[in-house]
Structure formats: structure tokens, C-alpha cells
């Protein structure tokens, strides 16, 4: 099967050293694989959701894989990454184990969140992968702080990336954090996925500037625009933005245009999405666009793509099967203590033992 992929793809060792960037087709194929993996994972999560195996919301990244994968690939181990709700592909590219996603969705006791938090709220802070809280915009300044810490510790060449949606740009947190990054001249790459909707709200009810990248100048950040439906453009723009941040260029604001190809969550049929947008270039499926490109350029043939899909599907199925066999957290063994300083915890047993009157 491997033979049918472009030979460049076979050389896997450290393909992202800036000194010798890997040949483009290899990078493209590699990114494509992360996109595909994320898509197949999303499909699996959606089907687990429909089967009633996931508690709470189910949120997918369909249509945003090119942007997200390109970002994840531009980052290195040691960087900081605060992905958002639709960044499955970027997480995988950054190195998040596939199992983390399934385990967190299922609430497995063995997942990184141990059933305490769920679905997209996962991460491994000590690996630079920050677990989002739900409040939009709130992760950006946390990335800033991590970068400030690196600077205090004289760690250089590090980049921090944070993701946000078009809707998230309206939060005060977004503004304060981007301004803070600019004042501190931090190597922050702030990636806005303008997927045309915040839940049901179209961009015209969210902002009134011509393009969100016009915000950059007001902060002293460098603007970048990307076509989020085109993996090549995403790879180019994200690697440039990340490289500029890494080289000391200060905060970079990347705005990618695309369309959310699913509901806000799986409970949402997205009936409100404008049909014209769906038919426009924005409505293209980045995965399909990438596939067509691979075939057109001869970087892979359809058999190879099918094989790749099968391989990826096996990985996802294996992860899902593993996670489904895993225990749920046991409330009676749970350590109900929000503090790391255990000696300072307060014990609120119910009912509180009493001295009878």
C-alpha cells in the first residue's frame, strides 16, 4: 500500500526542522493523513453520540481539518497549543494521542480528564496542550502566560498557538489577550477560524469590519489570511505565521475563511446555514479538495487513498473499542478534592455530623 503514496511520504524522521523543510508533497500528504484521521474520528464520535454512548454535547470539526492540521503541523514539541472546539486535526498533528479524544468523549476514567471533564475539554498541560474551558476567548491569555514563563526561563524559539472562532473574536478576553501578547511581544499565533457562524449567528451579527484580519493592525500584530478550504494555502500561511512568531516577529493573527460543515453540535441540524454559502467556494470540503489535489498531482492514487482510509479507520476503531471497554469513574472512589493542597481542603460531608441539642 505504501508504494502507492508519493515516495516523499516515506521519510518520516523529523520532517519539520526549519533548516531543511521537507519536500512539499510529503508535508501535504502528512497533513492530509491528520485531516483524514480527524474526520474519521469525528464520524466515529458522531456515531457513538447517536448510539447514546456520549453524555452531553457532541462537537465536530468537519470542514476545519485543513486549517487545524496545518497549525498543528507548524508547531513543534515544546510549543504551547490551546486548540478549540473544532481542532481535532490540529490536536492529532500536535501529538495528542487518539485515545485522549475517545476517552474524554466517553468519560473514561483512564482518559486525561478522568471523566471529570468531557468531549472537547481535554488536554495535557504539561505537554503544552492546554485543555480549553468553555468560555470563549479565555485560553488566549493562558497561552500568553505560558510564553511569558518560557521567557522568564530563557527558553527560546518557542511558539504558542491559540484558536478561536469568528464568534469568539467578540469576547473581551480575545481583545485583552491579543493586546497583551502585542505589548509583551510574545510569539503568539492566534488563529481565527471564520466558519461564517457562531452557533446560529451569522457573521453580520458578529462583526462589521470587512475582514477579521483587519483587526491585526490595531494591536500591532501581523495579519495573515488563509483559505481554510485549501490545505496548501493553510500549510503555507500557518507555517509562515508560526515561523515569523518563532523568529521573534511578535503576535501573528491568522484568519481563515471556511464554512462549518456540520451543526454547532450534533444536536443542531444547521438548517439556518445559507444555501448560497454552501454552494460557494467557502462551502467546499477541505478534505475532498485535498484528496482531489493528491490525485491530480499524482501524489497518491485512489487505491492508496482507500488504503489510507482503511488504515486510519482501523486506528480509530481500535481506539474506540479500547475506550469503550474502559471503566467509568467510580464516584465512591473519586477523590472529591479541588485542591492540590490536601491539608487545606474543607470537608463538606452530607449531612454534616452534629452534636445533638
Amino acid at each position: 500500500m505504501r508504494d502507492r503514496l508519493h515516495p516523499m511520504l516515506h521519510s518520516e524522521e523529523n520532517p519539520r526542522t526549519p533548516e531543511a523543510p521537507p519536500p512539499f508533497p510529503a508535508q501535504y500528504l502528512k497533513a492530509y493523513r491528520f485531516m483524514l484521521l480527524a474526520r474519521v474520528l469525528d464520524d466515529k464520535i458522531a456515531s457513538l453520540g447517536r448510539a447514546g454512548k456520549i453524555h452531553g454535547g457532541v462537537f465536530l470539526g468537519r470542514g476545519q481539518e485543513a486549517l487545524s492540521a496545518a497549525l498543528g503541523m507548524a508547531l513543534r514539541p515544546g510549543d504551547i497549543f490551546a486548540p478549540l472546539i473544532r481542532d481535532g486535526a490540529g490536536r492529532l498533528a500536535f501529538g495528542e494521542p487518539l485515545l485522549d479524544a475517545v476517552r474524554t468523549c466517553l468519560g473514561s476514567a483512564l482518559g486525561p480528564m478522568r471523566g471529570r471533564d468531557g468531549n472537547v475539554h481535554r488536554g495535557r498541560p504539561k505537554k503544552g496542550l492546554l485543555p480549553m474551558i468553555s468560555h470563549l476567548g479565555a485560553m488566549i491569555s493562558v497561552v500568553n502566560g505560558a510564553l511569558m514563563a518560557r521567557r522568564f526561563n530563557h527558553v527560546e524559539g518557542v511558539v504558542g498557538a491559540a484558536c478561536v472562532g469568528d464568534g469568539g473574536t467578540s469576547t473581551g478576553a480575545f481583545h485583552e489577550a491579543l493586546n497583551q501578547a502585542a505589548v509583551e511581544h510574545l510569539p503568539l499565533v492566534l488563529v481565527v477560524a471564520n466558519n461564517q457562524y457562531a452557533y446560529s449567528t451569522p457573521t453580520r451579527r458578529q462583526f462589521a469590519c470587512k475582514d477579521l484580519s483587519d483587526r491585526a493592525i490595531g494591536y500591532g500584530a501581523t495579519p495573515h489570511k488563509a483559505d481554510g478550504t485549501d490545505l496548501e494555502d493553510c500549510l503555507r500561511v500557518l507555517s509562515t505565521a508560526v515561523a515569523q512568531a518563532r523568529a521573534g516577529g511578535g503576535p501573528q493573527l491568522v484568519v481563515a475563511s471556511l464554512l462549518r460543515l456540520c451543526g454547532h453540535g450534533e444536536h443542531d441540524d444547521a438548517h439556518y446555514v445559507d444555501a448560497k454559502l454552501k454552494e460557494s467556494a467557502l462551502g467546499r470540503d477541505c478534505l475532498q479538495v485535498a484528496e482531489e489535489r493528491l490525485l491530480r498531482e499524482g501524489w497518491a492514487d485512489s487505491e492508496a487513498l482507500l488504503a489510507l482510509r482503511q488504515e486510519v479507520t482501523r486506528e480509530v476503531e481500535a481506539a474506540a473499542a479500547t475506550a469503550q471497554r474502559e471503566p467509568a469513574p467510580d464516584p465512591f472512589k473519586e477523590d472529591w478534592c479541588a485542591l492540590s493542597s490536601r491539608h487545606l481542603r474543607e470537608i463538606f460531608e452530607a449531612p454534616i455530623p452534629s452534636i445533638p441539642a
Partner: protein, 321 residues
């Protein structure tokens, strides 16, 4: 025909819009989409131009409501989840809550907060913030537990000249039904004896009312009658009704879904201890959620907050004291 708690909230808003041209609704996705929980379903269509989608800007949403109220409007704000009111917290407690006291100009805004836990909600979609807001002078905090109250109290919230934090419980949205909308209502500020009893008083509100009632029914089979008081609004808090109930039963258990430090249950116990000390035959008890963030997994979540079982256990324990 029957009507759910959620439909009652929708109907109250429809009536407020129909009756009073000063009313408008502002919040994320409340327009054509009808709101994340469908509490404003079809209202944008029925009242064109008066149900506006807001950007993800809770601070500015509340700020704008205050400005409109100063000009005589009566905005209803929908927070998508109570948890997301925190970025608007400053405007609520420092601007809305202080306006009348500082200037004599009232601030008639209603802030609807979809509150409380659902299985799988997790730390950021399950919170109960009523105690937080009740701490602040200048705010009224309503916590309706029934379909009828959801309807009549929301109408009263809109009519009241002060800022109202309207904590509607997400679990009740679909689970709670009534045969019809109420035609009359208890006034805000009055608690209700939801179940009469003689052996112990449970004071509670919102979704926990139903857990408490379930516990009471079970204990009734054991021959002991629990009185259940539904606070309805936690600020103002109807101490008289609570103390009168404790006078009848001599025992008090106070139950809330919020975090255990402070909040409604501490306030109720402090009042009863202070004003009804001699009426108590046993130490007052309280039951709250655990002192951790709210867990995602249903197995964890169902022990994190009180429920009919744990309320029953606490009540039995107190009955034996």
C-alpha cells in the same frame, strides 16, 4: 394539552412582548434560531425587530440592556448558560445593581440564566449562580421550581423596576409539565409550602424541590411527614414562611444544588438560627453539591449534587436526632 417549564418561559416572553412595547429580547442565538434551548422559539418571527441576536459579548450585552433600561425599555437578556454570565458579571453587579441606589433611575432588566446540571454538562454548563448574585445589593434573584412559577415569575420579573436574575433550571425545561398556564400567581417574595408535614422541614428551590418532594413521598411510607418549602425567590428570601414551617416541625434541612460554601443554604440556616432559634428541636442541616467543580461523567455528577436519595438519607438522619 400540557405545557412544559420551557414552553412556559417562552409563553411568558411572548406575552411580555405582546403586552408591553418596551420589552425586547437580546442574547446569543435568540433570534431566528429561537435560542440554544428554544426558549425564544418563533418570537423573532412573531415580533419582528424585537428579538435580537447578540455577539458573544456578555459584558456589552448586559451593558446595552442597562442603557436601554435607562431610556425606559424593559430588556430581557438571555445568557446562553448561566455559566457564561461571568464575563458579564461586572456589569450586572456594579452597573445594573447600583444604578437605582446611586441615581434614583431604576434599572428594569431581566437576565435569564439557564442554570443547573444535566448529565454530561460538565464544569462549565451546569453551574448554579443564584447565591453569587443574591449577595449583591440591588438585585432580585428568582429561582422558579414549577411551570406555573416559571411563567408568572418571569412576567413579574419583566414588570419589576429592578434588575432581576432569573435562574431557570435546565433540567426542568423538558421534564416538568403542567396542564395549563396559570391564571393567577403568588407574588414574588413569598415562599410556598409545597408539601405539608409535621416532622421536618426541607427548605429548597428550583430543581431540588422535586428531589425533595420525591424524598418526602418515600419517607411518608415510613410514617413520617416532611414539610417542603419552595423558596421561589432567594432574594428576597421569605424568612417568615420558613420560620413558620420550622415552628411546626422543629427540624430543618436546607437543600441546594450550588457549591457548599456560603450561598442559599447557609443564608437560610443563618436566618433560622437567628430568628427561629428556639423553634429548633435539632441542629439545622444542609445539603449542597460537593466542593469541587461539577463533573462531566453522569456517574460522578449524580453523586456530586444532592438527589432524592441523599436528601432522604439526610432527612432520616435528622429525624433520628
Amino acid at each position: 394539552m400540557s405545557i412544559t417549564y420551557l414552553e412556559a418561559i417562552r409563553e411568558a416572553q411572548a406575552k411580555a412582548l405582546a403586552d408591553d412595547p418596551r420589552v425586547f429580547i437580546y442574547g446569543q442565538d435568540v433570534g431566528e434560531f429561537g435560542g440554544a434551548f428554544k426558549a425564544t422559539k418563533r418570537l423573532a418571527q412573531e415580533f419582528p425587530g424585537r428579538v435580537l441576536d447578540a455577539p458573544i459579548s456578555e459584558d456589552a450585552i448586559v451593558g446595552a440592556a442597562i442603557g436601554a433600561a435607562i431610556e425606559g425599555m424593559r430588556p430581557i437578556i438571555e445568557m446562553q448558560y448561566a455559566d457564561f454570565s461571568t464575563p458579564g458579571f461586572n456589569q450586572i453587579i456594579n452597573q445594573a445593581a447600583t444604578l437605582f441606589w446611586r441615581t434614583r433611575v431604576p434599572c428594569p432588566i431581566t437576565i435569564r440564566m439557564p442554570s443547573g446540571g444535566l448529565a454530561g454538562g460538565g464544569p462549565f454548563h451546569s453551574q448554579c449562580l443564584e447565591g453569587l448574585y443574591a449577595h449583591y445589593p440591588g438585585l432580585i434573584v428568582m429561582t422558579p421550581a414549577t411551570v406555573e412559577d416559571a411563567y408568572s415569575m418571569l412576567l413579574e420579573a419583566v414588570a419589576i423596576d429592578d434588575p432581576v436574575i432569573f435562574c431557570e433550571h435546565k433540567h426542568l425545561y423538558y421534564h416538568l409539565k403542567a396542564p395549563a398556564l396559570p391564571t393567577d400567581a403568588m407574588p414574588v417574595g413569598k415562599a410556598r409550602v409545597a408539601r405539608a408535614g409535621r416532622d421536618l422541614t426541607i427548605v429548597t428551590y428550583s430543581a431540588m424541590l422535586h428531589e425533595a418532594l420525591a424524598a418526602a413521598e418515600e419517607i411518608a411510607l415510613e410514617g413520617e411527614e416532611i414539610e417542603v418549602v419552595d423558596l421561589r425567590s432567594i432574594k428576597p428570601l421569605d424568612t417568615d414562611t420558613v420560620v413558620a414551617s420550622v415552628a411546626r416541625t422543629g427540624r430543618l434541612l436546607c437543600v441546594g444544588e450550588a457549591f457548599p460554601w456560603g450561598g442559599v443554604t447557609a443564608e437560610v440556616i443563618a436566618r433560622v438560627a437567628t430568628e427561629g432559634f428556639g423553634l429548633l428541636d435539632a441542629p439545622p442541616q444542609r445539603l449542597n453539591a460537593k466542593d469541587t467543580p461539577i463533573p462531566y461523567h453522569p456517574d460522578l455528577w449524580s453523586v456530586h449534587r444532592p438527589n432524592a436519595n441523599s436528601i432522604g438519607a439526610a432527612a432520616r438522619n435528622l429525624l433520628r436526632m
